[in-house]
Structure formats: structure tokens, C-alpha cells
Subunit: 212 residues, 2 copies
């Protein structure tokens, strides 16, 4: 195990790559830490610290090599053979995620979706087939799916997480508003949209109080 | 300005309230810090520290009063008169957000949505009317909208953020994969689904390497 990096560094490396890919598309070959920092709304010191952690240094004159840095970040955060992903719950959010990921990162492949609605089962969206939730354990094995994204209604959160774990899933991204429990060997990431909106609302309120 | 709390504390207070609301529904009147901690996958010390920051202490015997704590968190993070919110971009994600928020938090009201697609403009979804993006400045003023949620395609991110800022929006929640720039008096929160998935994938890879 070469890299045991802080969670926040992993997130930022992913974000740096996203910014670097845009620069590459525009034909930019080199970039300074302060340019990355400005795009990401953080300090240049933070960028340099993260990149030092992965052993990359730029040159004073030209900054970082965009292409090299994209490749290095890929070596660190991507799995060389790629990872297969399933979406559980094909409501609006599940469909948004499929559309969103298609063609974005070749090493993260959404290979299946699951639902309980007979109208959805059997359909294919952007190349992703929808299966019955009853077939999840079998499909997970057949397709070597290692990550499950949960976009089911909150009341199904716990049982969906349990089913994913029992089926051998090693990582869960939980988009339901209900926190779930998983064993230690399963990595869990939870995101609640209400928390983000409440945070924005709090700071809007705070800023207004400052002005008054 | 009574409370200038760390960003992470604000997020956790919102999450504690979410957990407490579920407890309240179940008829639970009191809760210990270690119970909240277990639901949120954090330490009891962290819970107690956050609640001390907002001046709340439980009793050793019974823990925290669930109802009191929900009300106190509300006083701190909610705006007393509520905040009106708009969603810009009525694709799958925009629709998912409307469904998701309806009836969840009464002080955060999604009062309008915007799109460029004539088929969507004029429609109403879960009581939220969809307007033309051209009418955004006017509707924002009329409806006193202070927060904008961006769910437009990445290529429209910058211009949408600019339009929201110019129209007087004070907080932006950016769900596009493209970071945007806003003036200092506008609070910006950005969330990229790919970053979350890449983080899960990284830790799945890491855990597998540990086992091998």
C-alpha cells in the first residue's frame, strides 16, 4: 500500500484532476499552484502540500506539467483495472447520476441499475440495464460490481445497504437522507442534500446579519 | 451575530437534527451523545463538543432532551422568516431535488425553478412553477429568492452563476462539475458527484490492497 492519504487530500486530488482535464482540453500544458488554487477556491499552499504528499513538484518557471499531473493522480486514485458500479433506485436521482457519469471517467463504470418498479426493470438507460432488486446478489457477482450508489427512498435505506453488503459490495455511496451502518471492511460515504442547503442558508443568514 | 460556528459544526448540527427528528417520530424523548455519535459515525466527544459550542448540555442521567435540542438547532441554523430557494436546470437532478425537499424543511422553500426548454417552462412540479431563465432576475426579486441551486449542464455553469449573482442571490449550491466564481458576499457551496465516487473507489482499492 503506497498511499494512505488524508480523506480531504483524496477529494482535492479528484478535484484537481477535474480542473486539469479542463485545462488540457483548452490546450494548456503547464499550470501554477496558484492557478489551481484559484479554480478550487483554496490556497496555493494547500495545493502544493497535497501534491508534495504524492511526490510531485513543478518547476518554478513553468509550474506543473498538466498532462503528467493528470496521469500521476490517476495512478494514485484510480484502480488500474477499473471498478464496476451499480445504482440502486432508478428515480430522478438515479437517472441523473447515470447521465452525469456517462463518458466522464473510464475507470468507473456504471454497469447495472436496480429498482423494484416492473415498468423500469428490463429497460436500458444510456447503456445501463435495469434489473430487479431481487437479482442484485447474482448480478453483483456476475458483473464483479464493487461499489453501490444508493438513490432509494429513505425508508429503504437500511435494507438496501444490508443487501449490498451481503452481496459482497465493498464501497457504498449513500444519497438517501438516512445514515446507514456497514461493517468496517466496507467504505461508506454519505451525502445529504438538505445538509448542504441548510449550510448555505445558515451562511446567507449570517452574512445578512453582518450587513444589518 | 451570535454564532460564528465552524463550517463542519454547521453541517453536523444539520445532521444531528435530521437524526433527532427520526428519534422524535419514534417517540424517543431523550438521547445520549454516544447514541447520536453512533448514528452519525463520529465520536461522542465530537457530538458533545459541537453541542457545547451552541451552549447546550444534557444531563448525565437522561442525556439530551430531543425536542429541546431540535428547537435550539433550529434557532441557530434556520432563518426565522424562512428562505426562498430556486432551482436552475430542470433535468433529472433538478426534479430529484424538488421531490427530495418537498415537505422536508418548512423554512427552506423551493418557490421557483428555471429552464431554457419551452416544454418545461410553464409547468408545475410538486407545486413548484417552472419559469424561463430569461425571467430569472424578475422572479428572484418578486419572490424574494435568496438561494439558487444550480443543476444546469457544466457548460452553462459560469453564466448561470453570474446571472444568479447579478439578480441578487446571496447563496449558491453548485451541483455542476464545474467550479464557479462568486463575489465575497455570496456564499458558495459546491458538490461534485464524481469526486465522491472517486473517493469511494480509492478506499475500496486501498482496502483490497490491505487484504492482499
Amino acid at each position: 500500500m503506497k498511499y494512505n492519504l488524508p480523506h480531504k487530500t483524496i477529494e482535492r486530488l479528484s478535484q484537481y484532476r477535474r480542473a486539469l482535464l479542463i485545462c488540457l482540453e483548452k490546450g494548456q500544458t503547464h499550470i501554477y499552484s496558484h492557478e489551481i488554487a484559484r479554480i478550487q477556491h483554496i490556497t496555493a499552499v494547500q495545493v502544493r502540500r497535497d501534491l508534495m504528499l504524492i511526490g510531485y513538484t513543478g518547476t518554478l518557471r513553468k509550474g506543473y506539467n498538466v498532462k503528467e499531473l493528470i496521469e500521476l493522480i490517476g495512478e494514485i486514485i484510480d484502480s488500474s483495472e477499473g471498478i464496476n458500479v451499480a445504482i440502486v433506485g432508478m428515480g430522478n436521482l438515479g437517472r441523473a447520476l447515470i447521465n452525469y457519469f456517462i463518458g466522464k471517467r473510464s475507470h468507473l463504470r456504471i454497469v447495472a441499475s436496480f429498482d423494484i418498479n416492473p415498468d423500469k426493470i428490463g429497460n436500458t438507460m444510456s447503456g445501463v440495464p435495469c434489473f430487479s432488486i431481487d437479482d442484485l446478489p447474482q448480478i453483483v457477482k456476475e458483473k464483479n460490481i464493487r461499489i453501490g450508489i444508493m438513490t432509494v427512498p429513505a425508508e429503504f435505506a437500511s435494507q438496501t445497504a444490508d443487501l449490498l453488503v451481503k452481496s459482497g459490495i465493498k464501497g457504498i455511496l449513500n444519497y438517501t437522507p438516512k445514515p446507514v451502518n456497514v461493517p468496517d471492511d466496507v467504505y461508506l460515504e454519505e451525502y445529504d442534500m438538505i445538509t448542504s442547503l441548510e449550510k448555505v442558508a445558515f451562511y446567507v443568514k449570517l452574512n445578512e446579519q453582518k450587513i444589518v
